[in-house]
């Protein structure tokens, strides 16, 4: 999967000839540019890279990548990508999906791909709205959200995509944001290196139907006080000069934010994405408030467990190891197995 290629590729090599057709100002543009710029560093030939998407604004993504790609149907990308990945372990398979595509109609395929640990890099562009169908609420929209389909406000609590993924046994879970190219690329890098399913939520602005949904995380005046940048092995602090920090109050199960000055340094939680027990990452996933305060971004969890693909391939290999005949001979043997009789 990562044999070096002769010629070093550049971002331009990953641009397809298709005109990009998102609304001007859409966060998808930034994500596309970040990914096109990032892909060359993987050293995977373009022809071995495949983007599979569902339906939604975000799901147009594959058209713009000069790799192999399939714009499939609503919600089914993880299922289709599973068949591709399991049968073609030599490929690097990426799934691009939206909050509606992945969590509404496609919720089941997503959680099963994560449980199985299929070798997919799943990028969920979360704009907390249905973009393509022009503005209905999505499973990540806030309670009480007023949209075309909920003029009196939505009645249901949203999913927390990362909590859901962790509840579904995800081995890699991360979050990043459209506007921060460097950070986005760093999370993708970690995802690409992970063997198994890597689930990455990307906060994405839909400037037409849900503009400013993540504004607090982007506005220079609030950004630093709202965003928690997770770094493996580092104490979790944020804000100007690390003003705030994350602690794990004794007796409690969740995490809380404190003034760094008010706690002893050893009380500050040191981020470790590799702990086997998902309870830590789960606690992290619950940190943000409704106003997006204390939003961690980065790699929440990255643990090793065998990918579904690798187990399947190992089973195939084991079965084939004993074979000495040609396929035709094997077939003849199989057809003639069991009780047979001969008429002459």
């Amino acid at each position: 999967m990562s044999e070096p290629v002769a010629v070093k590729l550049t971002a331009k090599d990953f641009k397809s000839d298709q005109e990009v057709r998102w609304c001007p100002g859409c966060g998808d543009y930034a994500i596309l540019a970040a990914i096109q710029q990032f892909m060359p560093e993987l050293n995977i030939p373009r022809e071995r890279t495949v983007f599979v998407s569902g339906i939604g604004c975000s799901s147009r993504f594959p058209y713009y990548m000069n790799t192999y790609g399939m714009h499939s149907i609503h919600g089914r990308a993880p299922a289709i990508a599973t068949g591709l990945s399991v049968s073609r372990p030599d490929l690097s398979v990426w799934v691009v999906t939206g909050d509606g595509d992945a969590l509404s109609i496609g919720g089941n395929h997503l959680i099963h791909a994560l449980r199985r640990n299929v070798n997919l890099k799943i990028l969920l562009f979360n704009n907390r709205i249905y973009g393509l169908t022009k503005g209905q609420y999505s499973p990540t929209s806030e309670v009480g959200k007023i949209t075309k389909s909920t003029p009196a406000g939505s009645a249901d609590a949203p999913f927390n995509p990362l909590s859901l993924a962790l509840g579904a046994e995800a081995s890699f879970v991360g979050r990043t944001i459209d506007s921060d190219r460097k950070h986005l690329q760093s999370v993708l890098r970690a995802a690409a290196e992970h063997e198994g399913s890597a689930f990455v939520e990307i906060y994405q602005n839909c400037n037409i139907f849900n503009d400013g949904a993540f504004e607090q995380l982007k506005d220079p005046s609030t950004r630093d006080n709202y965003l928690i940048r997770l770094e493996h092995g580092q104490p979790i602090t944020f804000g100007a000069d690390g003003q705030f920090c994350v602690v794990h109050p004794p007796g409690g199960f969740g995490l809380e934010v404190r003034d760094t000055n008010s706690v002893r340094p050893e009380e500050i939680v040191v981020h470790d994405a590799t702990v086997t027990d998902p309870a830590y990452a789960f606690a992290l996933s619950r940190l943000p408030g409704l106003d997006l305060r204390n939003t961690p971004i980065g790699v929440f969890r990255s643990v090793d467990r065998p990918s579904y693909d690798s187990v399947v391939q190992a089973q195939l290999a084991a079965a084939k190891a004993k074979v000495t005949e040609t396929p035709e001979q094997q077939l003849a043997g199989l057809l003639g197995s069991g009780d047979t009789w001969t008429i002459i």
Partner: protein, 615 residues
Amino acid sequence: MTKQIRQLDRVVIRFAGDSGDGMQLTGDRFTSETAQLGNDISTLPNFPAEIRAPAGTLPGVSSFQVHFADYDILTPGDAPNVLVAMNPAALKANLADLPRGADIIVNTDEFTKRNLAKVGYQTSPLDDDSLAGYVVHPVALTSMTVGALAAHQVSKKDAERSKNMFALGLLSWMYSRPYESTLRFLERKFAARPELVAANVAAFKAGWNFGETTEDFAVRYEVKPAKMKPGTYRNITGNAALSLGLVAAGVRSGLPVFLGAYPITPASDILHELSKHKRFGVITVQAEDEIAAVGAALGASYGGSLGVTTTSGPGVALKSETISLAVALELPLVIVDVQRAGPSTGMPTKTEQADLNMALYGRHGEAPVAVIAPRSPSDCFFAALEAARIALTYRTPVILLSDNYVANGSEPWLLPDVESLPDLRVEFATKPNGDDGTTFLPYLRDPETLARPWAIPGTAGLEHRIGGLEKADKTGDISYDPANHDFMVRTRAARIETIPVPDIEVEDPDGDARVLVLGWGSTYGPIGAACRGVRQRGLSIAQAHLRHLAPMPANLGEVLRSYDKVVIPEMNLGQLAHVIRARYLVDAISYNQVRGLPFTAAELETTLEEVLKNV
């Protein structure tokens, strides 16, 4: 005591008992012994919907019917000559199917007050005269088995459970079956527990000896081998044959077979079977649901595998949207629908042919696919190969309509020579196909097959994107151009309509028939048997059977129009008849039964004679 030996040309035996009585296994073994003898065979298992319905109840009855003969036969037989009834429920559930004069072997040990009451018998039918018209053989099967195993080191429960082998021994004696394969089978089956091998073998022999000695069985029968084509045979069910056909398609195409499946009766056995063939490179994924199953299969096809998904009606309904995507993507995909009785959950263990409409028309938009159907258990092998051939050559989804009757029924199968199987090799695209020598046009078609190139990921220089939005001809770019859409819709239709399929053959031995019976799928046997019956009465009738439902054979219209009347028997309300009427404007007579059971040859015969009278 010397026994009389009588020659018969055909026999139908039905083993019936409680779900826990091992009737399927007993029937299977009897079938195997019979096959060894060279009779032609056809079998029909019939099991309850419940896993283990309460013991001794009517819904708990499980049966297995085997028909064997010294000539080639077409069905498992309408009415059993012999019923083995392991308990009152088995007797009650099956009696109505027996013709007068049939033999009934009953296990008297189970005819207790309690068991009789369970199925509503006030008095024992063995004691009143309700079985007067039959030849009843009361046998204390359970107690004789337990007695025979007195010296064996097995629990009473295990001893009792061997009673099916006693019954098998008795029947094997009665019909002079060779039993070596059964003894070998028992050794394999109970390899881990030698005491059970011994007990089951002893029970079998006790049954055999009982036949030999008791006076109740004065006659022993022989059915001579049938004249069958030389070669090596095995007995095979439709589901097994279909699985082997898929493995064979993998071997003959050189492609890995990828099965995405979600368990569902009566298709699950194909998943079970294929999951054993990893050494052929066959991958099976038990998906989270039917949509994921077909999605995974399509993903695998995109990657260069032969993507297959197997299911039954409710599963096909769920897969429709993805099949429609496969139509747009123009990738190979085999969808196997082992039909069962619907609508909704219906009667999952019963047969029906009512998914033809869905296969032909059950998708949004104009989304044509190829549709084929096997006619018998062993034909499922060839049908699977044919489905793969069409899918691979024409880059299209193919729906293969099997049904519960062929899937679980069995018949002898003359093993084909592997080299004689069709060559299914395909060529992936490897280089640009545009006029300029550098562009790749994913929707530039082969002028003959109308298939687009199959350029699988990993092929350098052919990177391209496909999807479910309408695509421009040749380039495959997204297109909203009205003329292009019209063109693409018509091209997709033509792609299917122009697939060359063999002409339909008509069987009309007398050559002067004025009535044609047209069928499709699993009705081949009953229709064939009925036609034979009609002809034996000196009447002429022609039979033709469709394997290809979409596209249809080119000569079909002509064939239909050359008869005064066309009768179409179907286990649905006339779905093929509707298509035939629409396509050929032929006033076909639809004859329908939707009972969850195959047609009996006799009732079809009567129907056909009725039609013949009015020509």
